[in-house]
Symmetry: C2
Subunit: 468 residues, 2 copies
Amino acid sequence: MASMAQIKASNPVARDAAIGEIRALIGERLSTAGAVREQHGKGEAYHHSIPPDAVAFAESTEEVAAIVKICARHRLAVVPFGTGTSLEGHTAALHGGICIDLSRMNRILAVNAEDLDVRVQPGVTRKQLNDHLRDTGLFFPIDPGADASLGGMTATRASGTNAVRYGTMRENVLSLEVVLADGRVIRTARRARKSSAGYDLTRLFVGSEGTLGVITEVTLRLYGIPEASSVAMCSFATVKGAVDTTIATIQAGVPVARIELADGVQMGAIARYSKLDLAAVPTLWLEFHGTEASVAEQAGMVQAIAADNGGENFQWTTDAAERKRIWQARHDAAYAAKALRPGCQVWATDVCVPISRLADCIVETQKDLESTHLPAPIVGHVGDGNFHLSFVLDPTKPEEIAEANRINDRLVARALAMEGTCTGEHGVGYGKIDYLDDEHGDAVSVMRTLKKAIDPDNIMNPGKIVRV
Amino acid sequence: MASMAQIKASNPVARDAAIGEIRALIGERLSTAGAVREQHGKGEAYHHSIPPDAVAFAESTEEVAAIVKICARHRLAVVPFGTGTSLEGHTAALHGGICIDLSRMNRILAVNAEDLDVRVQPGVTRKQLNDHLRDTGLFFPIDPGADASLGGMTATRASGTNAVRYGTMRENVLSLEVVLADGRVIRTARRARKSSAGYDLTRLFVGSEGTLGVITEVTLRLYGIPEASSVAMCSFATVKGAVDTTIATIQAGVPVARIELADGVQMGAIARYSKLDLAAVPTLWLEFHGTEASVAEQAGMVQAIAADNGGENFQWTTDAAERKRIWQARHDAAYAAKALRPGCQVWATDVCVPISRLADCIVETQKDLESTHLPAPIVGHVGDGNFHLSFVLDPTKPEEIAEANRINDRLVARALAMEGTCTGEHGVGYGKIDYLDDEHGDAVSVMRTLKKAIDPDNIMNPGKIVRV
């Protein structure tokens, strides 16, 4: 089952001493106000706030290092915070301690257009980066939905709709600057596009959720904005038809930039919310990047593949306004889900399976949902085998959370039985910590060994990923 | 400077006891014959052989685990061995011990065509895999030149000519089975295409060169064989013209599959060796994958870009025989280099820099080469900023090795000053171990921490990557 938080208050003497020292360092940029602490103790999911003892708004790597050193001396927990858009309780201060808010470290430090890379501070958000890049002809493709900070996206190994073409944060981080648990500052790699010079520290910190150190700089890969884009949409009688279309598209080597799926429940919700004439059946959206000729050819190839797999009403366009209209329905998915039960919240699950098992996994899950009264539309990054149930629930009702947990437990077990993972892109936090043994077996002990070696006093975001 | 091996013999009592126990386990598949030991103590570079005490030809994960357990009990070193084609002394038994030869673990365990992945034993070579896949319409793109084992390619984070499009082993390994230093067997990840479920153990073992465990299974990404390929070749008056063409090509989003550079010295050598009418000037080879229309369009776009950057004699073709003829010149590069001094060996350096610095790095290196009598043609995977000098030297002459070392030291220092790496794809072994401090600074201490945590008795390929 989804984990209960194992909460442990910080030592009050250590806490007060550390707060005094940090206040001497950064003055009023250390806050102990209730509202500020409350806001920093949760993300965007159902997890309630577990506030830190104080929030430090850091403005430089040196400040982060100094704060971590103070916390290390007092054995006080450190929880890094970006935009607070994570979904598995990553920012909950389970052991109290100091939250380091990195949102003021939001400078873009160097755009290297010829090298297609950029170095940013961790508080820069993905939209901020893309706005900044607009005149360069370059863009950063990873889009997890929320306008998350790039430090946070790195820490959770985020991905989203573009991953099928451009990869996840795993593939797109070139190098990191990290403050370790003892306050030392390291750089994990040079700016070369590839290297075989030792252990891949970059990838060790990507997805480490603040448990091994605080990310204070990120160097990212960039891409040329494609000359042309085309967008397509197509409906199917069955999920299997949509998934088979996806498989055939990828096998045919069509370099699809996005391929998104919604199930019938989700499509019905979108049609109602957006007042669109959409059939409540499984639907694919696709996006193609390339030259004018190439995006037309790609759309044509997929149209033929979709027809072979029962696709109907295939429409595609290169027109900017039309593209926006087609994508709007997909973008409305979360709002449409929420509108199914006004006043409720959406809690999104996140499994990922080999694509050959995806249709089965979704269909079995849909059967499971027949036994619950909670609405739970499905959207998926189908090219990667990744999908989300959006439970629309009342977070003040424990029985609804328990019901969502019950179904999620079964969903994770189903995904694991299909050689999948308990989280494709949201991360572990403490919400998924109890699934890791089932997923990784003895490999979890290696993760624990790494955590203990790099953070021997367990001060870095304790209680997340692995318990020690 | 390139490192001297720090050799330490194994304890004879431990050695004899372990050999006895392993012989009881695998019988005549344990060899102590001088020729076998000698052959397993070196790779393909100038490094002389440093033989292990014995070579165990393992046939299963269980055998590898049992052998490692025996070695762990006797604190004897373990050196994994694939095809012996590594280039920085990776397989030298610096502390003696048992070499585990994995070449008999060469079964292809599962091809999942719909998921575009394959699970193999570590002794499967890349050509063997691609022969096996031929009828499936799929292929595995990573091509480091040698027909290396996939376990070895994983261990050294290999790449080669296709990396600019398809990535390196870092991007193409989905999951590993690994025997740890205490004989436990773990799987680093599920078969899902992406996951945020904990630390990225897969990437920790990719590039770990046997120092953290023995890789006993590899799950790899596959790709659809493109419908069409086109190949182009173009010469330039300057290295800068060739590199600028590469930069503009990548910025324009042309999804080039290969883009290779040879300098004038290398082209002169190829012309002489292959009796071809080739100008001794910087030359690019390119390959494009896609549909018939797309590969023609890509070649046309690059032709225009090359013309803007002083490219001459641009030729391109989709004809299979012509493609082979054009690539042959590139494939002859190593033989052509060797033919410059009959009886000598080629020793290849391997730096990688941000592509904006590549032309400068090559030109400064060429200037450096004016002061030596050693021929040293240059070839490069220019799309990644990675290039090799091929010193043609007599390995029996210490002064020639010293001269190559001197120039290589300067080359590495130059690459590091340009934010590059001391090795783009060959790895560290013991040949580059002394460069890591300059490259990574304090991050090397984190690598050492990881090594000590995962292999506390330092039995896994000791003396490679980091000394402990």
